[in-house]
Structure formats: C-alpha cells, structure tokens
C-alpha cells in the first residue's frame, strides 16, 4: 500500500507544495490502488488513467513554473457519473446512457479542470441517483469497504466508497435527498450538501431540479472545505445559482479544528431520532452531544413537527420532477435507441417514434426509475394534482417554517445522518419503502435548501459499522457546518486517537 493514498487532500497539497512528491506520482499511486482494490469495491464505472496522468503532468509543470492553479492543483479526484464530462462516458448508472460521451463539461468539472485536479474516473451510483444503496445501478452495486457484503449508501455510494477505500482522496457527489450525506455516514467519510444554489447544477443530469445539489465527498472536513471553495460560487449557466460570494469555508474549518464550541448553540431535533433509529447509532449520537456540551456548546432540544411528513412530501415532489426530467430520454437525440419487437420477437417494420420511445424506455430504465416515473406521472395527473403534488408543495413551506423557527433557537441543528448503519446488499433492494426510510433525517434539508454535513460519528455496538452525525445550518451559512463539523471531527479524533477510517479493515487486493 502506497503511503500517499493514506494522506488527506490537504496533506497531499502540502507535499506537492513542498516538492516532496509530484502529481504524476500521487495520481499513479491512486490508479494503482484502484487497480488493486476496485475489483472488490466496484466504486468506479470508468477509469481514465491516461487522462488523469496527462492532467497530473500539466499540474507538475505549473508547479515547477511557480504558478499552481489552486491550492489543490495536482491532487486527484473522482467524479460521480451524473456529471457531464467531455470526452469521458457519463451514464448516470443507467443503460439508457450506456456509452454516451457528453460534448461538454459540467461547470463543476470545468472548475476542477481549471483548478488542476486530475480526474481519475467516474463513480458508480444508483440509476439517475434514485436509491440509497447503489444497488439500483445498471452496472452492478458498489461494496462498502468496511464490509464488502454491505451497501455503501446511495445514491453516491461509488464516490463515498472510493474515498473510504483510499482510491481517491476527494470525490464529487450530488445530494437530492441525502445522496452525499448518507453514503458518508455508512462509509465513515465526510459528505457536504451545500446550500441549494451554492454549487452550479449546469451539466449535472437532473433528478429533481428543485432539490439537487452537488458537493464534496472527502475523508476530512478541511478537505471538503478546500474542495467546496473550488467548485462553489455563482455560475451564469445555472439560473438557480446564488449570485453572492461563498462564505469563508476553509477558514471556518480551520477555526473549528480547535474543538472549541464555546457559545455555539446546538439544537437537537426531536423528530430526527428515536423510533426507527438503530440503538447503536443513537448511542453514538448521544455521546457526541455530551462531547459537544463539554466543549462549550449550549445544547438545546428543538422541535420541528412537520419533519415527520418530510419523507412523504419528498416522495411526491421528487417523482413529479423526475418524471418530467426523464422525459428527455426519448431515444431521438442521444442515448439508447431500441427498436420494438412484435409478439414473435421480430423487429416491427417501420415503427413509429412513439413505439421506439416506449421500447427504449422499457429496456433502458431499471425498476426504481420506472417506479418513480409512474409515481410522478400519477402525482401530476389532473385528478390527483391538488391532493398530492399541490399538498406536498404546501407541506414544503411548513418544513421551511420549522427550520426558520429552529434556527431562532440554535445556530446549527444536529441529528444522526442515517437511521441505521450499512445493511446487507440485497436486503432492501426490492422493498422500495424500506429503502426510502434511509433518507428520513437528510430529506428536510433538501426540501428547504439548507446546507448540511455528515461527519463520522463512531461505530455502532451491534455491528461495528460506522454511523454519522449530521449538522445543518441556515441557507447561505455553509461556514457554520464546516466550523461545527471540524470541531466534532477534532473532538472525535482526540477521543479515538485517530480518524474513524483508521479502524476499517484492510482490503485485500492483489499483492503489491
């Protein structure tokens, strides 16, 4: 095992700046690690060794000339396969986009390239980001590096597993209902969902436009802040992008690393805990509350009564938006085209565009995508619109009012990130409702657009698997999640004698 892959992105950036290593060397070290363990983990759908090494060589040249493009110039990264990458396949984990190579870069990808981060490859995900386990990927599930028989969370399980397995120091995820934070929790890594509009959605294949948000997937809070400052900020190509400067995130993370929480008001959300949450997850959460109190925080209990309806609200709004978004996969301009067959199995002569569309969407979409498209079509249909979609939009207002009231009483809100640790692959794959419950605690933030982070929160006693603590802040106050997140991380490291991931079992790859 190369020592380089064990270091954080901030440490790698320092090593590059100090001339201790080169981007080519550390990019190669990560490509070697991928070659050694990804056969077991399956975090990647596409690996671009050649492209990454070329970008690394360019980064080394910039540094040699004394002109690095960013603090992370030369530090490699993995990108969730939902982001358009010019010249690299982008499948969203779906057969319908198999082999598609976008002609343009997403803004996030463009910013990564401009900042000099070599792109190692594209990471696995639930098809079109619909799921909490990556089992809905058309290309096979990703395995949790802590226990290969378990799920890595989802939809961004590939990005989280890549970072947890030291295949990449950094990754990009997207979070529509928890797809960055929940995989972070179950893999012992850090995931941040920025304020809605804080990171451009241009080139992010949309699941639900009003909920989707891209963000950092890392092993430390500081690394997330460094990456967030590179990908965040206004983008004229995204009309929902916030036209205001980002808060000072790296400064906030460095400030928080002292572990001092004096004067910080922390609200424990009554409704995000208790029934449906695994005892070991709750026990670790309670310990963290005590740690934070000892560190000077003023902990209060806050009630957000509408949060109990957030899951139902989400599963009306999301399918409605998704069914509309996915209508673009019509087999006409890009992606899969399947010609319909007659009952005897022969291709129909001269099929209509509509028949081709039906056959393509049946062949190209998996079960979960079909379920949600049909659900969304139902929720939006004329007879049911008021009862479902209209009602969900109103409850969304109430969820935001609950947040507003809660943030009167507390600077940040906390809860367990996910109700359970990683479950077994196959355990919930055909039980959609059980799968949906994984996002119980993460969904309210998406409905209201507020930022959130998941930080490793210790191992549950029952199964020895990682759990996460979620920290939420008001919209535009992303610096608070970094400040408090870094403090919690520092308190934990002091208590555990090292990062949680150091307790993960070694993956057995081919001998090196």
């Amino acid at each position: 095992m190369s020592d380089l892959t064990r270091r954080t992105a901030a440490e790698l950036a320092d090593a590059l700046a100090g001339g201790e290593t080169t981007s080519v060397e550390l990019t190669q070290a990560h490509l070697d690690r991928i070659a050694a363990v990804d056969g077991d983990v399956h975090a990647f759908l596409h690996i671009d060794g050649e492209g990454a090494l070329a970008q690394a060589a360019a980064a080394d040249a910039r540094r040699a000339a004394g002109a690095p493009a960013s603090p992370l110039d030369g530090v490699p990264i993995a990108v969730k396969d939902v982001m358009a990458t010019a010249g690299l396949p982008t499948t969203c984990g779906s057969r319908i986009l198999e082999g598609w190579v976008p002609p343009y870069d997403a803004t996030v990808v463009k910013r990564l390239r401009e900042a000099g981060l070599p792109i190692l490859g594209k990471t696995n995900m639930d098809e079109f980001a619909m799921g909490s386990s990556t089992e809905h990927s058309a290309y096979g599930a990703t395995h949790n590096p802590w226990d290969l028989s378990r799920i890595p969370g989802g939809s961004g399980g590939g990005s989280a597993a890549a970072v947890a397995a030291y295949e990449a120091p950094l990754a990009i995820g997207t979070d529509t209902g928890g797809s960055i934070r929940q995989p972070g929790a179950v893999t012992g890594t850090v995931g941040v969902k920025p304020t809605y509009g804080g990171v451009s959605r241009y080139g992010l294949v949309a699941l639900a436009n009003s909920l989707d948000q891209a963000g950092p997937v890392t092993r430390t809070v500081l690394d997330a802040a460094l990456l967030h400052e590179i990908i965040g900020g206004h983008d004229p190509l995204d009309s929902t992008s916030i036209d205001a400067p980002l808060p000072k995130l790296v400064d906030a993370a460095r400030e928080g690393a002292s572990g001092d929480l004096t004067g910080v008001r922390i609200g424990v959300v009554t409704e995000l805990g208790g029934e449906g949450y695994q005892p070991g997850v709750l026990a670790r959460f309670q310990e963290s509350v005590e740690l934070m109190t000892k560190a000077g925080a003023e902990v209060v209990e806050v009630s957000c009564p509408t949060f109990v309806h957030a899951l139902a609200t989400y599963y009306l709004i999301l399918p409605a938006e998704a069914s509309s978004n996915l209508a673009k996969f019509d087999a006409m301009r890009y992606g899969l085209r399947v010609l319909p067959e007659g009952p005897d199995g022969t291709v129909l002569p001269s099929p209509s565009a509509e028949e081709v569309m039906r056959a393509t969407r049946d062949a190209g979409f998996g079960d979960e995508v079909k379920r949600r498209i049909i659900l969304g079509t139902y929720a939006l249909s004329s007879g049911y619109y008021d009862a479902y979609y209209g009602q969900a939009q109103k409850v969304r207002t109430l969820v935001s009012r609950d947040f507003e009231a809660a943030f009167q009483q507390a600077d940040v809100l906390i809860s367990p990130t996910a109700p359970t640790t990683a479950f077994k692959l196959g355990e919930k794959v055909d039980d959609p409702l059980a799968m949906y419950l994984n996002d119980l605690a993460t969904i309210p933030a998406n409905l209201s657009g507020v930022p959130g982070i998941s930080v490793p929160n210790g191992l549950a006693d029952e199964d020895g698997l990682p759990s996460g603590i979620q920290i939420l802040a008001p919209a535009l106050a992303d610096d608070r999640v970094y400040r408090v997140g870094a403090a919690v991380e520092a308190l934990h490291i002091a208590a555990w004698g090292g990062p949680l991931l150091a307790q993960a079992p070694e993956l057995e790859g081919p001998a090196r």
Partner: protein
Amino acid sequence: MPEASVPDSFGITRDEVAHLANLARIDLDDAELDHLAPQLSVILESIASIQGVAGADVPPTSHALPLTNVFRDDVVVPGLTAEQALSGAPEQEQQRFSVPKILGEE
C-alpha cells in the same frame, strides 16, 4: 382515472399503472405490471398521510430559492457545433437527427 380531487382510496390498480406507464411512454410487460403495481400501491398508501397536513392558507413552495426570471445579457456566446450536438445521436443524416416516423401512415 377518477376525477375527484381527493381520492377515496390511495391504492392503485394494475390497470391504472398500465395507463400511467402508457402516458409515460414505457412499454411495461405483464410481468413488470404484476411486480410494480403492488409496490406502487404500498408507496402511495404510505405517502397519503400528507393529506390535510397543510391548511388552505399555506402557500406552496416550488423552489428553495425565491428567484424569478433570471436573465443574462442578450449576446451571442459560443455553443456546440453541429458535429458535437450530433455526436451522441443514435442515427443522423445530413447534419440532422434521424428519427423514426412521427406521423401515422398517410
């Protein structure tokens, strides 16, 4: 589809699922309908709890940010070339997307 604004029952029948799949342009076969219809019923029953949570006076939220009409300057900016735009096309002809017939016979 029933016309009532508040359905009496939140379950969904196999025929309704077939109808919705048709509207969504997905060719579901019998086996898929048998599989998906009961699952969709269970999901709908669980999310039906949302009925009556918000009163008539609560305004709807469609979006987390209160933004309307974001414009850019009306100037020409670079776009994709025809070749780039067609690069993923299943079929193309004379710099155009080639598609199956859209209108019925004659």
